[in-house]
Amino acid sequence: MDFAQHLPALQVIVPLLAAPLIVLLQPRGFAWAATTATAFFSFAVSIAIAVRILAGDILRYEMGGWFAPIGIELRVDAFSAIVLLIISGAAAISLIAARNSINQQIEDHRQPLFFAAWLLAIAGLVGMVVTADAFNIFVFMEISSLAGYILIAGGPDRRTLPAVFKYLIIGTIGATFYLIGVGMIYMMTGTLNLEDMAQRVVGIEDQRPILVAAAFVFIGLALKAALFPLHVWLPNAYTHAPHMVTVFLAACGTKVAVYVLLRFQFSIFQSFGEHLLQFALFLMPLALLGIIVASLVAMFEGHLKRMLAFSSVAQIGYILMGASLMSDSGITASTLHMFNHALTKGALFLAVAKFATQYADLRIDSLKSAARSMPLTSFAFVIAGLSLIGVPGTAGFISKWQLIMAIMETGNMGFIMVAIVVISSLIAVGYIWRVIETLYAIPTDDLPDDAADVSVKPEKIDMLLIALIFTVAMNIYFGLVPGLPLTLAELSSKILLKVEF
């Protein structure tokens, strides 16, 4: 058996098995190093998978040699590959940058456990993506969620606890809904293998249970994906989580739920009656509302992390709006934006984490004149912010271009949607520029000069800063040469639109 065939299994197994071993690594720094090494291995596996996919393969792996649909099958196509890249890339970059920030926020003796949870989160997230089994997705979803609660609750801030509790309740409801939905489909089709399910669902006479199941799956995953108005858990969770955890989760957390959501809606229910039309008509207004409302809230939000969290809610709106167009170009734009937004929001939260090393208070006002002491971080924030706005030359611009292009294909009705995309970009200009002006404001002279100097230490060049600059550079690179994500996104859209499972 060719080694490459084991890649999908390795993607899950390695972080899953490494997690309990990490717990044993008590000496300071070891747990971090081992976790980072594992994450980079995962990233390498994802890249290897992406290379195979781009060569035209679809990777299948039968667990334990049991063939599908009897055994559990792992299955990786272009859509999975791009999401795998997002997850493992986000994990690798946030972990390698995490050392100082985590040392600051997590006590030494808890670090091994914390990093073990992080690996479990990675394993759960990639597991949801590689598996081709509906129940397996649920299991991995629970692994990633439980590990995620631990990660978010890990911070020193006691306000994380109510935030996590809220997330826990909502997350559990979401997972339960998903399970109910899957159970109903299983009842009607007798299979849990997604491919098999897609084939059997077509012939079913009594459609009602399947429609209800589709609704359950949709709501459950929409909760996990923080689709407006089911997003209420997200801002607090992002705001109070340890800074590096926010980087990781903001880059990939909700996108995996979006992945499963699109997988189910398109691959399984696509040829099922009027379902897809209903889905689109239901999703589109929510996505549009989410874009506008969340952007407006971000505009008036005083806390930097929470502002960016609300911006994430708006961006999920973009992603789902693209999907709700149900066209080739729409889904391409949507998938591409998953990738680009991960890069952009990852960079922004990395900058936030870097600011947090010197500023305890992350309200926007208290970051006044931060550019004096942290010029590189501030400049990186500016570039990443421009990518969020969608200024040409950045990754954000490419996805916006694709999205508007896709909307225009729909004809005259599209102008309302174009207007909404455009207006929310303008709001993004507003909330990003507010931060930039504060960062570059001239310090007021009510403090004596020496007092200002004590509180402001010069920017230290560490892994966090290097990771930040790297991510920002990637934002520009993929803004000028978007070939890789674009190709994967185009392949994904073909896969989702043809029932070729």
Binding site: G393, I404, M408, V422, L426, A441, L480
Partner: protein, 497 residues
């Protein structure tokens, strides 16, 4: 040097210059200024080397990279862009000389950042001028906005930041909201955004949509400052004067009218637009902007604000000329970009020289200043005459062509507007000239000090710069053949009309 190499160098040289300025800025001021001047000269030489080729009808192109299928970052030199690039790169040298005098004379802070951003703005201008398609144009259009923002906000105090916010807010929002939509729409309809003589949209859209698309372009290009998206220009007056010169003469507003002219000539096609009644509103809008901006200018007491409103009016001259859609008017639009640049840069240089030498900003303070600063005020007078359009200045040449185009089209509103605005221009410029030369210095209204500040001319470098531009303003009246030759190429069917 192959033309392809020259195009790439025109982009790379100012970029490298910016980097070198950043490095040398830490070492020594004189070294940094030398880098600026050498870069500017080198760029001008490179850009000028392309002129003979373009005159011969060649159109060298380079494709840098393919961003998405059908969407390239590419460059293609054509007469309009050639003119704009030549203008901007040549004026950059003079502007740099002036900047050095101004920034030092005024003891400004953060001079290194100033020169870096200036070089970046020139890079953006070169990219914009040479862009082969709308996508590339948009990329550099935004880069120009962003690189000039730190220049406008240079002083950094609360009032300046607020004005800079208006600057950035208007330019960024109009471009993201309207221009980007227009560009994507164009790509969607035509399948490409390449600049092709005669346009790429013929027969692809219904006439009403063409009118709408034109509106998206015109209002999306906030840099052209057509009303009501003109507010950023007076707001940007908080910038140091060399920046105002950059905004008004060298790059920014020129980029605006350049974009609009280019879109009309190469995306819509002037003939095609002329055949559609849905495009007629543009002349009226431009005429309205000309008249009302002139009326507002009449009421200004601050010299730089007056010049800002005068620019708004002059920009709409270019737009109106382009919108008349007749060959002579299209040439007039291009020529007016040059003529206005020479005149307005002279006026701003003079205003800055007055500020540095005498700290005077209000028009009322200028009584009798001609005797203290004869060179400056002589240049100012020449610039003012050019704005009015009196021979022998540059302004007369372009007005001649625009008027010719208006007569070709039989467009009476345009003809009337030109006449009325000439009167208005004279009404707000001539009193200043008169006051400066023929009235006695007034001691009662000095803003900063109660005694008259004894002052002579501004620093030598500044006077040198404004003398050169004043000479150019007059020189262009006599030597404009090359420019006309060049721009005739954008209207291939001149003979038939």
């Amino acid at each position: 040097m192959s033309p392809q190499l020259a195009i790439m160098l025109a982009l790379v040289v100012p970029l490298v210059g910016a980097a070198l300025i950043a490095i040398t800025g830490r070492l020594h001021d004189n070294l940094r200024e030398t880098v600026t001047l050498i870069t500017a000269t080198l760029l001008a030489v490179i850009v000028w080397s392309l002129v003979p080729l373009i005159l011969d009808g060649e159109r060298p192109e380079v494709t840098l990279l393919q961003v998405m299928p059908g969407i390239d970052i590419g460059f293609r030199v054509e007469p309009l862009g050639m003119l704009f690039a030549t203008l901007a790169s040549s004026l950059w040298i003079i502007n740099s000389i002036y900047s050095i005098g101004y920034m030092r004379g005024n003891k400004e802070k953060n001079q290194t950042r100033f020169y870096i951003c200036f070089a970046l703005a020139i890079t953006a201008t070169m990219g914009l001028a040479f862009s082969a398609n709308l996508f590339t144009l948009f990329l550099f259009y935004e880069l120009l906005t962003l690189s000039t923002y730190p220049l406008v906000a240079h002083k950094g105090d609360a009032g300046t930041v607020k004005s800079a916010r208006v600057y950035l807010g208007v330019l960024l929002s109009t471009s993201i909201a309207l221009l980007l939509t227009a560009i994507i729409w164009t790509y969607h309809v035509a399948g490409s955004g390449d600049f092709v003589l005669g346009g790429i949209l013929r027969g692809l859209m219904d006439p009403a949509s063409v009118g709408l698309l034109l509106a998206l372009f015109v209002f999306g290009v906030g840099k052209a400052a057509i009303m009501p998206v003109h507010r950023w220009l007076p707001a940007a007056m908080v910038a140091p004067t060399p920046v105002s010169a950059l905004l008004h003469a060298v790059a920014v507003v020129k980029a605006g009218v350049f974009t609009i002219t280019k879109v009309i000539v190469y995306i819509f096609g002037a003939d095609y637009l002329f055949s559609l009644p849905q495009s007629g509103w543009l002349v009226y809008l431009a005429a309205f902007t000309i008249i009302s901006a002139s009326l507002v200018a009449l009421r200004q007491t601050n010299l730089k604000r007056l010049l800002a409103y005068s620019t708004i009016a002059q920009l709409s001259y270019v737009i109106m000329a382009a919108a008349i859609l007749k060959p002579m008017a299209e040439i007039g639009a291009a020529v007016h970009m040059v003529a206005h640049a020479f005149g307005k840069i002279t006026l701003f240089f003079a205003a800055g020289a007055i500020y540095v030498a005498a700290k005077k900003t209000d028009i009322a303070q200028l009584r009798g200043i001609g005797r203290r600063m004869p060179w400056t005020m002589a240049a100012f007078s020449i610039g003012a005459l050019s704005m009015i359009g009196v021979p022998p200045t540059a302004g007369f040449v372009s007005k001649w062509y625009i008027l010719g185009g208006a007569l070709q089209a039989g467009h009476y509103v345009a003809i009337f507007t030109i006449i009325a605005s000439t009167v208005l221009n004279a009404a707000y410029f001539l009193p200043i000239v008169y006051m400066a030369w023929f009235e006695k210095e007034d001691t009662s209204i000095n803003t900063n000090t109660s005694v008259i500040k004894e002052h002579g001319e501004a620093p030598l470098l500044m006077v040198l710069a404004l003398t050169i531009t004043a000479a150019l303003t007059i020189g262009f009246f006599f030597f404009n053949g090359t420019v006309i030759e060049l721009e005739k190429q954008i209207v291939p069917r001149l003979d038939s009309s």
